[in-house]
């Protein structure tokens, strides 16, 4: 091997490192999810006054913080209980602002193996998650590749996020977030979908698996959240977010719903801070027009749902966005 070849080889490696560094930085700055999540982080740190309710979950969590006063919606896209635990731990240990109640999203899809193994946006989550501890708990060394991704190659396998970030900049343009709540789902309506059942089935199989309804690692971290709240004396209320009828039908083909919630209640009831479950999953079964897609409420649906939640929590709405709140169906 000649000296020239060694130098060339090293130069090529250096080129790869430089390009990787640029792509990594560019992705972190460009990713719309990073921007959203970091804005929420900043808003949480800047929150002033009493925080009566902190709501946590994933993109299904659409509790409007304009309507539910003294609240912060910290739910983020594709978040699972594992990520929620680490974020909550960080909040409660590092930030002076403490919530009085935790509203924990508890949908059917919150507990399965698919969500448990769905670790997206690691370049954001790396600031909270202890990947080494997680790898030990899950007994899965592959978790460490997520750490590597988050630290050095954030763009790897994340072409969908790049695509979404471009789409977002073209279509959505503004990024309005108030106490974590983001009213943005107004550019599509599930009622206009010609094949609602098949779209719902596609979504259900994306989120759920026949394998097991309660993933062991989710069960561990669900308990960790409850333990943490017990230590900090924060009341926990679980909420099932409204879903479209079609989505629920498809979900219940995959998951034994009663068995799942029996197991969840059994764990939660061990902790005195647990206040109970508020079940709104069928609130809008007859109203596909309140949905953006099978499993996400649109802006109007989110407003109506939050108004109902506020009423059931015995609170007074901070703002009323629709007069139809009282007319909705369902029996939560």
């Amino acid at each position: 091997m000649t000296r020239k070849m060694i130098i060339r080889f090293l130069l090529f490696l250096a080129l790869l490192v430089i390009v990787n560094f640029i792509l990594d930085r560019a992705f972190k700055a460009f990713s719309v999810h990073n921007i959203i999540n970091e804005t929420m982080d900043r808003q949480y740190v800047d929150y002033r006054g009493t925080m009566k309710y902190l709501t946590i979950g994933n993109s299904h969590n659409c509790i409007n913080t304009h309507i539910l006063g003294n609240s912060f919606n910290y739910g983020s896209p594709s978040e699972n209980f594992i990520q929620s635990y680490y974020k909550l731990k960080h909040i409660l240990e590092e930030i002076p602002q403490k919530p009085q109640n935790l509203i924990l999203q508890a949908d059917i899809s919150s507990f399965g193996p698919k969500i448990a193994n769905r670790f997206e946006y690691n370049s954001y989550w790396i600031r909270y998650i202890d990947y080494f501890e997680l790898a030990r708990i899950k007994e899965d060394r592959d978790v460490l590749t997520r750490w590597l991704e988050g630290r050095f190659i954030s763009y790897a396998g994340n072409y969908k996020d790049i695509q979404l970030s471009i789409f977002y900049r073209i279509k959505v343009k503004t990024l309005e977030i108030y106490n974590g709540y983001r009213p943005h789902r107004d550019y599509r309506n599930f009622a206009n979908e010609p094949n609602r059942q098949i779209v719902a089935w596609n979504k259900a199989k994306l989120l759920l698996s026949h394998e097991t309804f309660l993933d062991p690692s989710i069960a561990v971290y669900f308990e960790k959240i409850l333990q943490l709240c017990q230590e900090k004396q924060i009341s926990v209320i679980m909420v099932r977010i409204p879903m479209s009828k079609e989505f629920y039908e498809e979900e219940s083909k995959i998951v034994p719903v009663d068995e799942l919630y029996g197991a969840v209640e059994e764990i939660a009831c061990r902790y005195p801070v647990y206040e109970g479950m508020m079940d709104y999953h069928d609130l809008f079964f007859d109203h596909p027009e309140y949905f953006f897609d099978p499993d996400h409420l649109n802006i109007k649906g989110a407003d109506l749902f939050t108004q109902r939640l506020v009423k059931d929590l015995g609170e007074v709405p901070s703002a009323v966005f629709s007069e139809e709140a009282g007319e909705t169906s369902g029996n939560p």
Binding site: M1, R141, D142, T145, G157
Partner: protein, 483 residues
């Protein structure tokens, strides 16, 4: 340890660096240690199995050479066959045999529960046993002399790039190379890295992405019909090709970096013009193994004449065994059987087909002939792959019957067109097939290598980052690891 895991991306550079740093005389020992470490990462006990096979075949081969009588030689060969095939049967086929006997007894109304054993199939057992077995058979046949150096032989059996899923290299290919430790060569290193990169493209961009669609359909065969099922079955053939040939490229690339050449396992099988052509291009190391050690060992002379009946029967037996090699289930038996039958049908119909063309005066162009041959070949292979992919016979039947149900055609089309991952996978597949075609015609690697350094490096770096950005997030194991 998977090739597409982070552990391997640390393991390989570490092995390569140490291998070329240490003195030449210790290199075989280091590679042997690395290979056992690689294998025992899956499960420590597995090391004992591979050591057992190695020791048996090493000593048997020496005894075969030392024995003067043919009878003794044969007895030693039988020891090797019993030890190796016994181990394979014990770990891989015991439950299959037990269940099959149980079913047979049940059909005669004989009740009784045969035991079901809880045995974990050691990764790659079929590969290293076949490799080691080919060596003793070669020594018995006098094709090669036995290896005197136990360490070199142990390394031949356990060489990590090909340990888990081949290629099933013959002793005449790899063993002599192990006697001559390689000097470090930048051009060989780069060539190996390029091959690995191409393998990763096939695995993580194509196979894993197509696998998402195929797995979904085959996991719920009762839900899908018509076009969705047909597309999944067709794509499975390409997924399997991308997955296994991708694995082979990574294996061959890894070995090449260390200076060793492993045999070619795939020669663009998807362009095969006949079934015979297909099996000459697909998993070559396995098909040639069965040809050399099974097919050619079976008798086909009767009354001093070649008996075609015997020849065809031998072909069926060989393909049945080849199907069974893939896995302990009736599905694989049917997969092998169908391939054998189709191959015989192709051979028998060759003359009548030619005569038909002569009589009718039809003289299709070469292109049309090749295209027709390719379509028929792939259709037959894809049909047999239903049995390969489905979990059991019931599921295979359901897949076949649902393939003819087009009642939800519009929904299937709607679903397919909305699946961006699938469409991207198909696009990448087309790119791969075109690139392979161009490479065969024009040697793309050489063309790129002859370009200016800026263009060359841009292509290489671009390809690396393309793979990184677009790899399928859901990592999947290599399909052939289960065999």
């Amino acid at each position: 340890m998977l090739f597409n895991s982070i552990e391997y991306l640390v393991f390989l550079p570490a092995v390569v660096a140490i291998y070329f740093i240490i003195p030449v005389k210790w290199r075989w020992l280091f590679l042997l240690f690395a290979s056992y470490f690689f294998y025992m990462c899956n499960r420590i006990e597995y090391g004992i199995l591979i050591l057992f096979t190695t020791m048996v075949d090493y000593f048997v081969a020496l005894q075969i050479e030392r024995s003067s009588s043919h009878r003794k030689k044969k007895a030693y060969l039988v020891i090797s066959l019993v030890a190796n095939l016994g181990m394979l049967a014990g770990f891989k086929y015991l439950n299959f045999f037990s269940e099959s006997i149980g079913l047979l007894l049940h059909s005669f109304n004989i009740q009784g529960n045969l035991p079901v054993f809880s045995i974990l199939l050691p990764v790659g057992i079929s590969f290293f046993i076949f490799k080691s077995l080919s060596y003793t058979i070669d020594v018995y046949r006098g094709i090669r002399a036995p290896e005197k150096h136990f360490g070199h032989y142990a390394l031949y059996v356990s060489f990590f790039p090909q340990l888990i899923a081949g290629p099933i290299d013959r002793s005449s290919g790899l063993l002599p190379q192990l006697h001559h430790p390689r000097e470090f060569s930048a051009s060989v290193l780069i060539s190996g890295l390029k091959l690995m990169l191409w393998g990763f493209f096939k695995k993580v961009i194509i196979a894993d992405r197509l696998g998402l669609y195929v797995d979904e359909i085959y996991a719920h065969p009762e839900t899908y019909t018509g076009l969705s099922v047909i597309l999944a079955t067709v794509l499975f053939a390409f997924q399997l090709y991308g997955d296994f040939s991708g694995y082979t490229d990574i294996a061959r690339g890894s070995a090449r970096i260390l200076g060793y050449d492993l045999m070619i396992n795939f020669k663009r099988p998807m362009v095969a013009k006949s079934l015979r052509d297909f099996w000459n291009r697909w998993h070559i190391s396995l098909t040639t193994w069965f040809r050399d050690y099974v097919l050619y060992s079976l008798p086909y002379i009767k009354n001093k004449k070649v008996s075609f009946t015997w020849l065809y029967a031998n072909l069926i037996i060989t393909y049945l065994l080849m199907g069974l090699w893939h896995g302990a289930s009736w599905n694989f038996v049917i997969f092998g059987f169908l391939n054998g039958v189709f191959l015989i049908a192709e051979t028998i119909s060759e003359k009548p087909r030619r005569r038909f063309l002569d009589v009718t005066g039809i003289s299709p162009s070469r292109f049309l002939k090749n295209l027709t041959g390719n379509i028929i070949t792939l259709s037959l292979i894809i049909f047999t792959l239903i049995f390969f992919r489905a979990d059991n016979l019931k599921e295979s039947r359901l897949i076949i019957s649902n393939s003819f149900n087009f009642s939800n055609l519009h929904l299937s089309v709607f679903q397919i067109l909305r699946d961006n991952e699938l469409l991207f996978g198909i696009l990448a597949l087309v790119v791969m097939l075109v690139a392979e075609h161009l490479h065969e015609k024009h040697d793309l690697v050489r063309i790129i290598a002859s370009r200016h350094i800026i263009i060359r490096w841009s292509i290489y770096a671009g390809f690396i980052f393309f793979i990184l950005i677009f790899w399928a997030q859901q990592k999947q194991e290599f399909i052939y690891f289960q065999f």
